[in-house]
Amino acid sequence: MKKLRLSPQTIPMVASVAVLIVLYVGGCLAFDNFGSLRVLINLFGDNAFLGVAAIGITFVILSGGIDLSVGAVVALTSILIAGLIGHGLHPLAAIAVSLAFGAAFGALMGTLIQVFELPPFLVTLGGMFLARGLGFVVHPESLSIDHPFYGDFVSQTLSLPVTRKLSIPFTAVCLVAVVIGATMLARWSRFGRNVRAIGSSEASARLMGVPIARTKILVYTLAGALSALGGVVATFYMQSGNPASFVGLELDAIAAAVIGGTLLRGGVGFIPGTLVGVLILGVIQTLIIFQGTLNSWWTRIAVGGLLFVFILLQQLITRRKK
């Protein structure tokens, strides 16, 4: 039996779980109905697109890079799906096209970063503008999706009933499935291990025979695909697409990853931690809604404060190690 022990790498993760529990229990004590199953389910359902996109960005950060295009790609995908369905394409085909587009978009950025040794920050910044602009070319404003697949199949058939009046939305199912798959990928696959190795020390990883180019391009491809999946989930959630939506989503995603224990320098991080980070953002938002009088921008203030606390915590841990 392995002894349970807190290594410096897992302390931030444990801390973020503790914060989540404190916030949630605090909410339950302060407000009636906060502890209801419905609120809990909505926490997953409402934040599913953020969660899926944040998982993608977590892989990029693990590899030592960054992806700023996430929000724009989610928005572009959502309007692309709405537009394609509007032109008569079957939703499944539209989703497949969007996912392929997202992956190709990520692969293109990854190739630029790897082959021309360009900084990820700038390449994905360019990608962000490109994707944002392309969204408006597809359709300049919000476009609702009217298709039985969306209206009945996804919203009704695919949701998991819990009680007679309550069911788990398919978006939440997507989020949980992505988290499980990504956790497996990060921990048990050669790809996941190579990503962590490159993020920790690219020069050493090269000497030790890790395929650098392939892995790095794949990381951005995966992030692009997951951003697109985030867009798909967003259309399930909103029953529409909007090229102007999700501005700054990538920054929420980065915040969620960091609060969940991923180091921005790369090499250290946990996929379930990112889910915890996303849920913390969601709980703060719900708390402010329940409170009722506070401006919704207080969510940002709380997240900002929390981010400071967590990066400070990580710094203290790293320093004590030295």
């Binding site: 290594s7 410096p8 291990r193 020390s201 050493s204 025979g209």
Partner: protein, 506 residues
């Protein structure tokens, strides 16, 4: 004597403008530790890099176990049977010990990592070396010594026959070095052919069976360690006669000069850094600072230079009260400091030799009074010649120079500011004997020209032969000051151990 497993003949490697390796023969035999010695620039690293495929050779042949090999990358060299452990640990700090040992080696089924198999394999590899480490521990949580052993475990966990240890001991303390050597001897006894590169003569004689000496890219000779006296080895490395080397080692420092101190401090200290102490240094004097790592040597230099602010005591420069509140103030007072950590605190790796050299002088003049290019070139050529800096051009990036030459450029940077007080923190660390001798000679010359020098050095023998007075630090306090007949290793060690040179019993 066993037959060589690795035989290299006529190895040659040219870089633009230099022949880094000129027809060198080298043999590695199973069950033997073969030390590769030479000054920086002698061709040691080039030979290693040619063997490991980092810089494939231009001419010559390398035969491993009867087969000619042409590695084009460290991976290919490893596959052929040559494993390397580098000076700076080249592992992944955030992965576990087990992952580091097995990374990239058949550890998955259908793309899934077999954690159990990895742990077993890693434990076995470490057990073969007689090392006990928790393989689930993150590598960066292990000491450098353990990381080095993990690197050896990784290197020997494949069916290779030749193990190259490229300066593996430079960041280890004595007991860690001994632990490493135990492992190396064990591997030798198992029949590995070990190639050992080190600057430390003691370590080479403690470990090596055979020594090959290179100089200026050429082979000087291959010797049995037991038959090569130390002095002869140093003479071979430097290309000088034994008499010259002896003269260098037994130089009498002149008596302490008369006159007022240039800099004196009373009760000078800083909380949690250096306990209040008195020090003074005159023009034309070398004051040595002795002490173990962490004794406060470096902190004293930082306080004097104003990098840290003293919170007690006073400082006088030429009899007038002065306070060094910042490095800028020190520059104006014409103080100079060459820090201990050359790589991260002294060189600007991506600037040229010229830019590195003039930067302190430019800083003193201020940004509006640019040093004319002609003047810059004159300074660079003057110092390159005076200090014997070996560089292909003043426009060469400093990071491409050897450690000894980098150190000389850093010295030149400060000498260009015509300092009155020179604070040298471990100026000879990690550089070869030749460059070290150059720097020691320069020290004496600067002293005779009337500079006040504070010299920090971990090597007590080096300290003793270069200083006219030695202040001994222990536990962040000055415990003794040695002069005259006490300027020897024994007295320094006694002072470090007991706090007093003259009464060993106390």
């Amino acid at each position: 004597m066993s037959e060589p497993i690795l035989s290299c003949r006529g190895l040659t490697k040219r870089f633009p403008g230099v022949v880094a390796l000129d027809g060198v023969d080298f043999f590695a035999r199973p069950g033997e530790v073969h030390a590769l010695m030479g000054e920086n620039g002698a061709g040691k690293s080039t030979l290693i890099k040619a063997l490991t495929g980092v810089h494939p050779r231009d001419a010559g042949e390398a035969v491993l176990a009867g087969k000619s090999i042409h590695p084009r990358s460290p991976r290919e060299a490893e596959a052929a049977g040559i494993s390397t452990v580098y000076q700076e640990v080249n592992l992944i700090p955030d992965l576990s010990v087990a992952e580091n040992i097995c990374l990239g080696r058949q550890e998955t089924t259908l793309g899934f990592i077999r954690w159990g198999a990895i742990r077993e394999r890693a434990s076995a590899a470490l057990a073969r070396l007689g090392v006990a480490v928790d393989v689930d521990k993150t590598l960066s949580d292990c000491s450098i010594a353990i990381q080095q052993l993990v690197a050896i475990a990784r290197a020997t966990d494949i069916s290779a026959r030749v193990l190259i240890l490229d300066e593996p001991t430079s960041s280890l303390d004595d007991s860690e070095v001994e632990e490493l050597f135990t492992v190396v001897r064990r591997l030798r006894d198992e029949g590995w052919a070990i190639i050992f590169v080190s600057h430390f003569l003691d370590q080479v004689y403690a470990l090596a069976d055979r020594i090959t000496v290179l100089r200026n890219g050429k082979l000087v000779g291959e010797f049995l360690a037991a038959e090569l006296p130390r002095l002869q080895l140093v003479a071979h490395m430097m290309g000088r006669s034994i008499n010259e080397v002896e003269a260098l080692q037994h130089r009498e420092p002149p008596a302490r000069p008369a006159g007022e101190p240039l800099v004196s401090v009373r009760g000078f200290g800083r909380r949690a850094s250096v306990r209040p102490l008195d020090l003074e240094v005159r023009r034309g004097e070398v004051l040595g600072l002795a002490g173990l790592l962490g004794s406060g040597r470096t902190e004293v230099a930082r306080l004097l230079f104003g990098l840290d602010r003293a919170d007690s005591g006073e400082m006088h420069v030429e009899g007038k009260p002065a306070a060094m509140r910042s490095p800028q103030a020190s520059l104006r007072a014409r103080f100079a400091l060459t820090p201990e950590d050359r790589k991260s605190q002294a060189i600007l790796p991506n600037l040229t030799v010229r830019e590195n050299l003039i930067i302190a002088l430019q800083a003193r003049r201020g940004i509006w009074r640019k040093i004319p290019r002609q003047e810059q070139d004159r300074l660079v050529s003057q110092f390159t010649r005076a200090l014997g800096i070996k560089t292909s051009s003043p426009e060469q990036l400093i990071r491409n120079l050897s450690g000894g030459n980098q150190q000389k450029v850093i010295l030149a940077r400060w000498l260009a500011t015509e300092p009155r007080l020179l604070l040298l923190d471990e100026p000879t660390r990690g550089i070869d004997v030749g460059a070290q001798a150059d720097i020691e000679r320069l020290l004496a010359k600067l002293r005779d020209e009337g500079l006040a020098i504070i010299f920090i050095c971990a090597d007590t023998a080096e300290l003793a032969r270069n200083s006219q007075r030695i202040a001994v630090m222990r536990d962040r306090a000055k415990v003794a000051e040695l002069t005259g007949a006490d300027l020897n290793e024994q007295a320094i060690m006694r002072a470090i151990a007991h706090g007093d040179a003259s009464h060993p019993s106390s």
